[in-house]
Amino acid sequence: MADVTLTERLRPYRVLLASRARAQMQYRTSFVTDILGTVGVGLAEFAEVWIIFHNVDILGGLDFTSAMLVFALSNLAFSLADMFVGHLDQLPRYIRAGQVDAFYVRPLPLLAQLMTSDLSLRRIGRLSVALVVLTVALTRADIDWSPATVALIVLTVVSGTAIFSALFTAAGGLQFFLVDGAEFTNAFTYGGSYAAQQSQQVFPDPLRIFWTFVVPTAFVAYIPAVAILDLPGDHLTPHWLAWCTPLAALLAWGIAGLCWRLGTRHYQGAGG
């Protein structure tokens, strides 16, 4: 009992995730259609950026290439988070159907079970659109490459994924209170993702402060991109702030943990 290694402890999750992945690939046509669908979603989102720059040369201090970088970084982080924990969105359905109780009787933590209850491989479609745009943006942009740049990009993708995952988890915790009002949390999960794709300079200051310090999605793409591209920052985006992305992720997870704890404490079971 005392000598359970980490590998052994993680084994159930590995088995679960592998089975979810296998299950999705059983119906080949469905799986391919789903992937094509998420490619479409990614392309439609990118079309929006492209159409705007068809009309203007600069938006919020960014040219098309820089806007592509912001778009790619936020989409990459969002689709990764969506793949790992996006299905927490389904929680209101589980709560209404009384299926959460079934999770409680199993010998693994609730959140870990819900997170591994699915692994939405179809999100690979949107992920690949983001990767292509990222590659194009990084080659087209005039970047002064250094180990620090590479480190910043990796750090940004990891922290960005953590930030969006935290938002999904916080939203999940709040679902225990909302149930019918599930859509409330879309305001900061999907709304946050939409805001993260933009140059933060398009927002008036109160909104910028909101997207930086309350729901920290500005850290997902815009703030690091300004540092990567060595653009002149402004009063709300000094270059050093780019390195604070992990801090923002930590804070987001702190709040997410709190929301989740409050939610699960509040939950009284489905009765019976």
């Binding site: 259609t33 938006l59 305001a187 709304g191 398009v202 927002f203």
Partner: protein, 297 residues
């Protein structure tokens, strides 16, 4: 036993069946189609007004997106230094907030109810009812649209008008034509989605088609950006599709970008698509009915 639905007598529609009914039933006049339709509209309204918290939640999310979209459009206009595609700042704001207000009213994302009923075979019950299934579902959708317009749309538009410098509809004609145009937009979106749902008669899984419809529709209806901002070729594609009739046309009338005789042509295009898609729905429904086989009974 396998039972072809065509041969099930449509009981209440047969005069003989009414004569066989009990006397009090005979004495009461059979409701007209208009009356039934209106009752179904009200039922749809009540059904969707039950979830008040969901309406409030939808409104909140729509408003957050409204703030983001308004910021983007204003920044683009500021960068261009002039109006783009006929939109200046107040009309662009009106474009955004009318769009957010109508988002819940017009069923852009579609519905799965009819598809599920086709798959389970419950659609056979709909065929037995004394009102055409397409008409019945349209009535329900109009009711849903009504409560969403009041519960989600009006608060969003008020918020936009309070917090931004938003162009009001320029005249009484714009208000009236705008209202008609919104109604037509609801019908066009419903009729299109109804056809997509009916494809379940032939396909096991229509998820891919639904998704394709949602993606193209979302882009071409003018939800994210106004259609006049598109590059020429994409604008042409949009104009040949039914999607602008679902959102762009009513928004343009209400925002005052389209005025005068152009209002008539915008509404005429919507009428065309409403009739075309409803007609197509009838054809597909009939073909599906011939194809349908229901087990048992």
């Amino acid at each position: 036993m396998v039972h072809d639905v065509r041969h099930v007598p449509n009981v209440p529609l047969l005069p003989g069946a009414v004569l066989l009914g009990s006397v009090p039933l005979c004495a009461r006049a059979r409701p007209t189609v208009v009356k039934t339709f209106w009752l179904l509209v009200r039922a749809g309204f009540r059904r969707h007004s039950t979830y008040r918290l969901a309406l409030l939640a939808g409104m909140t999310t729509n408003s957050v997106f409204g703030f983001i979209r308004a910021s983007i459009l204003l920044a683009a206009l500021a960068s261009a230094g002039t109006s783009i595609g006929g939109y200046d700042a107040p009309t662009a704001i009106a474009f955004v907030w009318w769009g957010q207000a109508l988002l819940g009213t017009v069923n852009l994302w579609g519905f799965a109810e009819v598809k599920d009923r086709v798959r389970t075979g419950d659609i056979a019950v709909d065929f037995l009812r004394p009102i055409d299934p397409q008409l019945a579902y349209l009535a329900g959708d109009l009711g849903r649209a009504g409560i969403n317009l009041i519960g989600r749309g009006l608060p969003a538009i008020l918020l936009g008008a309070l917090l931004f410098d938003m162009a009001p509809p320029p005249s009484a004609v714009s208000w009236a034509a705008g209202a008609v145009s919104v109604l037509l937009a609801v019908v066009v979106a419903f009729a299109g989605n109804f056809v997509i749902n009916l494809l379940a008669f032939w396909l096991v899984e229509i998820r891919g088609i639904t998704l394709l419809w949602m993606i193209t529709g979302g882009l071409l209806c003018g939800l994210y950006l106004p259609v006049p901002w598109f590059p020429d070729w994409l604008r042409t594609v949009a104009h040949w599709s039914p999607f602008p009739s679902m959102l762009q046309n009513p928004i343009d009338i209400l925002a005052g970008r389209v005025v005068g005789t152009d209002i008539a042509s915008a509404v005429a295009v919507q009428v065309f698509w409403a009739l075309a898609l409803l007609g197509l729905g009838q054809l597909v429904l009939r073909a599906g009915r011939r194809r349908l086989e229901v087990q048992g009974g």
